[in-house]
Each structure stands twice: as structure tokens, then as C-alpha cells.
Amino acid sequence: MNRELKRISILIFLMFLSLFVATTGIQVIGADSYTADQRNVRSIYDGYKTQRGAILVDNKAIAISKRSDDVYRFQRTYANQMYSSVTGFYSTNQGATGIESAMNSFLSGKNSSQFFEQISALLSGSPVQGASVELTLDPKVQKAAWDALGNLKGAVVAIDPTTGNILAYVSKPSFDANSLSVHSGTESKNNYQDLLNNKNGPLLDRASTELYAPGSVFKIVVASAAIESGKYTAESLIPNPVKFKLPGTNTFVQNSGEGKCGGKATVSIADALRFSCNVPFAQLGIELGQDRIRAQAELFGFGKKVQFPMTASASQYPIGMDDAQTGLSAFGQFDVRVTAMQMAMVSAAVANKGVLMKPNLIENVQSSNFTILNQPGPSVFSQPMSAATAAKVNAMMVGAVSRGVSSNAQIKGVEVAGKTGTAQNGDGAPYTLWFTGFAPANNPRVAVAVVVADGGGMGQSGRGNSLAAPIAQKVMRAVLQK
């Protein structure tokens, strides 16, 4: 019998060996891929084990994790809806968005820069505390943008053109991030569904992910391309008929309000921008060619998903257009689509003597023991144009505000540069209203882009100058008053 028992012993040993191997396979070899599985909610729950770092503006917390008495131990709370489009939300059930998502590794204490903290935490048994993230936002400017936008649907982005620091970032309508960070699964889920179903789209980020037709604000890009090409100056004259028939079609381009754009046979590029005339820009665009315009647009950031560190949608300048479409694209129609962030970058580049600084929301990241873990600082994104070209475009934009159709952005005693836009979205659809610009023109401290969606509730009768420009004016004033 004992010979058989030996064999049975070997069998038992092999059975257990298979269990040793299988558990090793799961807990060591396959662990990373199982952790990455979307259906594995443990990494979300894990995030609640440590006290998540705060998100700060001007040293005051706008998102903070407080002790709670349930299994999650910490409750994420948000101070003000004004910041919801920046912080995003951090939810047990709906995941995370905004800075909560983009800076998650720091906030949750998992970033590799916290390696030594992690080691000492492992030894002491107490979890690593999340690092806090200080934003570049200026609470006064943010408040001004929030108030100025009022009940309109749209967004404001304000950037310091010399550093790329984002001073204001507002998208409206907004939402209460606290309604999603509640720990009750059903409550959070219901609130999320309500927000999703809300036809005003409170969860949309109109500042950097929603794409809109730019209309006339795109003329800044075309004017920059023209002057940068060396073939044109601000004074170059362009034929100025009342209507312009797009090549190969029976479609006529007209100036806004069927205006005559000065009423002479020719008009300078500067005056065409000042009065925001479509007819001369359509011709200029066709002459310049789509490739040159696209190259200029891409230097401004079109086609790239800019990370600041949230990720903006890539703005689009179409490819493979015929002349008629190129003509339309030159005043920001056809399939040109931009984010408010992108238009703020265009203004910021003109303002900063042709150098585009990388947009950035992060002032610094501090560990719980006040060590600076990360401090992005200013960095150059691109140089879309020479300083000389920038000076000329700057002057044209000053003209548009002081003596042109973008007059509602004027600030007493300050030279403001800017451009309005009123983009069509197809028959009967409400316009998209724009303003982008900067101030003071000779020493810019702020570049701003304002987009008002759905015609600002006025269908096709609202204009960029009547609705968007005053908002931008208030935001710029808030920066300059400091």
C-alpha cells in the first residue's frame, strides 16, 4: 500500500503545485493587466484610501477631501460651481474629469515623484497623502468671467500671453460637482443622468472640448498668414465688390449686413479686418491658398490636442477644399471648427510678439509636507509669426476695437486689440458669437476668448460685438484693475 501512497502523495503535491502556479499567475504575472481592466473598480476605490490632495486657487481650496464616516473614508467636496469646468468631478461611480482626472496621479499620491514618500509610507503603514495642486487661475478674473457670462451658454478663456498661464476658465451652464461626488451610487448615478439629459448640456466643456464655427475671428489667422507670407502688408488693397461669386458655384459671398465695406472699389486688409468684411477676405483666402492658411493655423495649434494639462479638442482647418470652400474658410465658415481655448491662443500669440506660450493651468504641485513636486513654468509652444508681423496684426486688431465693428470691447484709457465673430451654423440655426483679443495692446497682460453658443438666446439677431465683446471687456478690465 505504501508504494501507492507515495504516488498519491506525488499526485497531491502536483495538485497543490498547480494552485501555487495559478495564484502566482494571477497575483504577480497577470496582476497589472487585471488591474487595468475597465470592469475592475478597485483602482477607483483605492483612490479613496488616501486623503486626496486639494485643488487650490490663490491658496484657497476649491476641491478638498474631507473625512467621512463610510467605507470611502473621504468625501470630495467642491467650494464653488464657478470652478466646476476646471476641477471636473471625482466620483465613485462616474469616474473623474477635468483636473481631477488630468492630475490624478499627483492628487492620489501615486505619482512617481512621490516615490520616497511611498516607500516610507510602506514602512510606516500609513498611506501616502495626495499632493495638492495649485492652479494659475486668478479668482477675481474667474469671478468676472463667471458673472459676465451670466446666463448665456458659452465659455470664457483668459490667458496671460507672456507666460501662457490661464487666468480664467469658465464654461456655462455649469454643474454642481458635489452632486456627482456623493458616495451613494444611485444618487450619483441619477444626478449624472439628469445632467446628461439636460438639453443645456451642463457637462459640456465649452471652453476647450466643444468645437464651434469661428466666423470672423478666424480672419486674424488669415491676416497673419497673409502678412507672414511677405506678399501682403496691412495696406495691401483687395477688390471690394458688393458681392463676390465663389469660383465654380452660383453662391455669392456678401459682407455682414450687406455692407459695402467702405464703399470704394478696393479696400486694405487692415480696413477689411476693422469692418470685418467677408468679400475681401474670401478673395484673399483664395489667393493665399488653403495650404498657407492651414500652415499658419497649425502654428497656432490647430490639429493638435493641446494639454494644459486637461486635453483640449483639436481645432480643425479642413483639408482638400476647392476654391469656393477655401473662400468660405477664410472668414471662418465652411468646416472650420475651433475651441475657445484655441482662439485665446491665437490672440495670445499676436499679443506676445508672435511667440505662443503653452497654455497652462498648473502653478505648482505640493506634497503633503510642502515639497514642490512639480512646477511647470512658462514654455514656448510655437512661434506662429515674426515679431514684425505680430505688430502689424496687433495694430489691425486695435483698429477693429477703437474704430471698427468690435467697439464694445473698448476700455477707457486702455488700448484694446480684438476681433469679433458672428458665425453662421446653417439655415435658421442660431449664430455662434465670438470675441477674442488682448489688452493693453502695447504691453499685453491678458488675452481672452469668449464664445457664446446658440446665438446667446437671440437666434440670428445677436452679434459678437453686442454679446461677446462686452463680456471680454469685463474680463480684461478685471485683469487690468489689479
Partner: protein, 467 residues
């Protein structure tokens, strides 16, 4: 009888009697038991501190009964079975305590989530009853030969227990398997006890028939085939196993009974042909069943592809298996620490998936320790089989030890995707009264048999070595 081969030494006649009944092994057992209940205290304290952040008197509710009955069993062994194996009881106490800790820990999570279905206190009660049952076995089973008188009674009891869930009214189906009896709100899994009764029967039957079973018949294709009439009992057991599979819808239980029988017939006769034929019959039966029965093929599909969205979403699909694996992966090598993980995310985390729960919180290190403890426990049982002079006891100890090994393999293998998942419980760890009682009775029997194992020398003079 026990005095017949009692400890002998040159001066034994002059020594006081008391010296002979307190051998060193009991002291070793005592020391190991202290370690086991000490570890249990450590686990419970860690759980309270990490989940509710305060030590409460509830600690004693979970710690004292196990420790008390460990002491009781240890004392009984000193008095009534002083030569019993010194490792079996500490290992069983350690595993039982670990399971109890995890169940209590899951209860705390349930309470925190506002749930009310708790298992911890019930497990304490069952542990007490089960250890009392083990004590009763050591006291009332006077010798290793006693059970041999009840071989056919055991068969009858085993068959009745095994088939009782199929009865109307008291039979009950839980989670798709008809393995339970439900009387007055109490549910009981009689199959767990049937396992013991049938092992006693197998051991007794095979000891009686091993001579004739070992005689093989003609050679066909170079293999000696057993005579047809000797195949009768195998076919009967095989049919009973398939009946369990089909009517009670549980692959694990079916495999367990059949596995124990095949191993015992092999040990008794030394004929590997029985293993080949038996495995072939079982696989054929299981294969046919998987073709004919959706739940078997579903289980197999979930086993092969637990992460396919289709299986994951299916009712009774691979959700539980996948979540268990996620939990184990979450634990990694060192584990999250007791109270640090989220094992409650897995359905039946306190019973069928307690291994995954422990793996999450104790990590691979803890898993290796648990598997080693089981292996050690089984090895002690097999060792009794090796050294026992009596063939019946040899087979019985082997059968009981192997039942623990096979059950571990089927359950833990199911959770870790070595084999398809089935509805057995992890011995001594999992929540569930029937399983605890059955396994503690096995511990009691092993202790009782091991006490007499040292009567003979370990050279195995009684083993026939059928070649």
C-alpha cells in the same frame, strides 16, 4: 488494547504512570496552539483597528470560543489520545481562525455598507459546535477499529445523506445546486457529512474486497482488465456520482466522491487500471453532461473565457470569477493587509470565494502560507496512512486526508481557474456550518487514528505491497 504496544523503555516500569501519557508531542501541540490562537488574536485586532479603528469587546466574542475549544481539545488529547499527531490540531485551529477573521472582517464591511446579512457570529457558533463534535469523536470513538464495525451502516447513512436534498419539501436549491436541506429556516448541506460516511464505507469495503479486486482478468491491448464483477461497485459509485451531477447539479461534489473512491481503490489494490478506467468514466460522464446540460457547458465556458463580456454579463456567468481574480490581482504579492482590501465586491466572498478574499488581503505571501498549511495538514493525514499498522485505518486516514486535498483543489482551483468553478466550500475556512462540522469531524478522526498509528513501527510491516 492501546496499552499493548505502549511506550516501552528500559526504565518504563519504574516510572510513574503519568509520565507515559504526557509525551513531548502534546507539549509541541500546546506551543503551536498558542501560536495559532495568538495569530488569530493578531488578525482580529488588526481587522478592528483597520476597519473601525478601535478595539471593541467584540474581539473576545470571536477570539475566545475558538481558543477555548482549542484548549478543550488539547486537554482531551492529553487525556485520551496522547500519542495523536501534534500538528493536525494547531493547523486546523489556525485555518478555522483565519476564516473566522475574514468572515468577521467582511461582516464589518457589510455593516458599514448598511447591510444586515452577517455570517461571523453564526460561524462562531458553528465553530464551537464543530470543535465540540471533534472532541466527541476523540472521546466516543474508542479506537481506530471501532468504525470498521459500521461500514455498511456508514454506506446507508452516506447514501441517505447524499440523496436527501433530492427529497421534496426539505430539499432546497441554492445558487442553482440542489445540495441543501432546509428545516425550519436552518439550512444544512448533508453532502459534507456524507463525504465522511462514504469514506468510512469505501475504506471498510475495500479492505474486505481488496484481495479479489487486486486479481485482474485478461489482457486486452496489453492492459490487464479487471474482471467484470469487480467493476460492479465502481459502476455503482460512478452512477451515484453522475446522479449527483445531474440531479443536484454540482460538478464539484460529484468529482469529490468519485475522486476519493478512485484513490482508495488504487491504494487498496495497487492497480492503476482502476484509476484509468475511473477517470475515463468520469470524464466521459462529465463530457456527456456538458453537452446535454446548459449549466455544465456554461460553467466550462466561463472557466475558459471569464473575461469575455458575454460570459461576464450572463446570469450565472463569469462575473463572480472575474471579480475574484480582480481581487486577487489587487492583493498582489504582499496583499492589502487585513481590512485594507475590498473583498466584499465579490459575491459569496465569505464562503465560496473566501480564498480570493484572503488572497486579496494577505497577498501571494499569505496564499502560499495557506496552501502550505493545507498541504501540511494533508501530509500529516497521509503520514498516518503510511505508518498505521491497520489496513482499514490506513485507507480511512488516506481517504479523509485526500478528501481535504481534493476539496481544496476543486474549490481553490475553481477560484484560480485551474478547473471549472463549482460549489464546494474551502475546508475549515469558508462560512458554513455543515462544512465546518464535517471537517472538524475529519480532524477528530485523524487525531483518533493517529493516536494508534504509533502502536506499530513506521516500517509498515502490515502493508502488503501488492505489486
Amino acid at each position: 488494547m492501546t496499552n499493548l504496544f505502549g511506550t516501552t523503555g528500559p526504565n518504563s516500569a519504574n516510572l510513574p504512570r503519568i509520565m507515559r501519557v504526557v509525551p513531548r508531542s502534546r507539549n509541541l501541540e500546546g506551543a503551536l496552539l498558542l501560536l495559532a490562537v495568538g495569530l488569530n488574536a493578531f488578525q482580529l485586532a488588526q481587522i478592528q483597528l483597520s476597519t473601525i479603528e478601535i478595539l471593541t469587546p467584540e474581539f473576545f466574542l470571536y477570539w475566545l470560543p475558538l481558543s477555548f475549544f482549542a484548549l478543550v481539545l488539547h486537554t482531551i488529547l492529553r487525556l485520551r489520545a496522547s500519542e495523536a499527531d501534534p500538528l493536525i490540531l494547531p493547523i486546523a485551529v489556525l485555518l478555522n481562525g483565519l476564516g473566522l477573521s475574514m468572515i468577521y472582517r467582511l461582516d464589518l464591511a457589510t455593516i458599514a455598507n448598511g447591510g444586515s446579512e452577517l455570517f461571523g457570529f453564526k460561524q462562531v457558533i458553528w465553530t464551537s459546535l464543530a470543535m465540540a463534535a471533534a472532541a466527541a469523536v476523540v472521546i466516543y470513538v474508542p479506537s481506530h477499529l471501532f468504525l470498521r464495525r459500521y461500514v455498511y451502516v456508514s454506506m446507508l447513512i452516506g447514501a441517505v445523506l447524499l440523496l436527501s436534498p433530492m427529497l421534496p419539501v426539505i430539499g432546497k436549491t441554492i445558487n442553482g445546486a440542489r445540495l441543501w436541506l432546509s428545516i425550519g429556516g436552518l439550512t444544512f448541506q448533508p453532502g459534507e457529512l456524507a463525504k465522511i460516511a462514504l469514506t468510512i464505507f469505501f475504506a471498510g469495503y475495500l479492505v474486505n474486497r481488496r484481495e479479489s479486486l487486486a486479481v485482474v482478468g485478461r489482457k486486452i491491448l496489453g492492459i490487464r482488465i479487471p474482471r467484470a464483477r469487480e467493476l460492479g461497485p465502481i459502476v455503482m459509485i460512478w452512477a451515484a456520482s453522475l446522479l449527483v451531477l445531474i440531479v443536484q447539479r454540482d460538478l464539484g461534489t460529484s468529482l469529490l466522491y468519485f475522486g476519493i473512491f478512485i484513490v482508495l481503490i488504487y491504494v487498496a489494490t495497487g492497480r492503476s487500471i482502476y484509476v484509468i478506467v475511473g477517470m475515463g468514466m468520469f470524464l466521459t460522464g462529465a463530457l456527456v453532461a456538458s453537452r446535454l446540460m446548459d449549466y455544465v457547458s456554461g460553467r466550462i465556458d466561463s472557466w475558459l473565457n471569464p473575461f469575455s463580456q458575454e460570459n461576464y454579463d450572463a446570469v450565472g456567468g463569469s462575473y463572480q470569477l472575474a471579480q475574484g481574480i480582480f481581487g486577487m490581482a489587487h492583493g498582489g504579492i504582499q496583499g492589502t493587509g487585513l481590512g485594507g482590501g475590498i473583498p466584499q465586491l465579490v459575491p459569496l466572498a465569505e464562503s465560496d470565494f473566501i480564498f480570493a478574499s484572503l488572497a486579496e488581503e494577505l497577498g501571494l505571501v499569505g496564499v502560499f502560507a495557506i496552501l502550505t498549511l493545507y498541504l501540511l495538514l494533508v501530509a500529516r493525514g497521509i503520514r498516518i496512512g503510511f505508518s498505521h499498522p491497520d489496513d482499514f485505518s490506513k485507507l480511512l486516514a488516506t481517504g479523509l486526508a485526500f478528501s481535504i486535498a481534493l476539496q481544496c483543489f476543486i474549490v481553490i482551483g475553481g477560484v484560480t481557474r485551474v478547473v471549472p468553478l463549482t460549489g464546494l466550500t474551502t475546508p475549515l475556512l469558508a462560512a458554513g456550518g455543515s462544512s465546518l462540522i464535517a471537517n472538524w469531524i475529519i480532524i477528530g478522526l485523524l487525531l483518533r487514528i493517529s493516536d494508534s498509528a504509533r502502536l506499530g513501527s513506521s516500517t509498515g510491516e502490515n502493508s502488503r505491497g501488492v505489486a
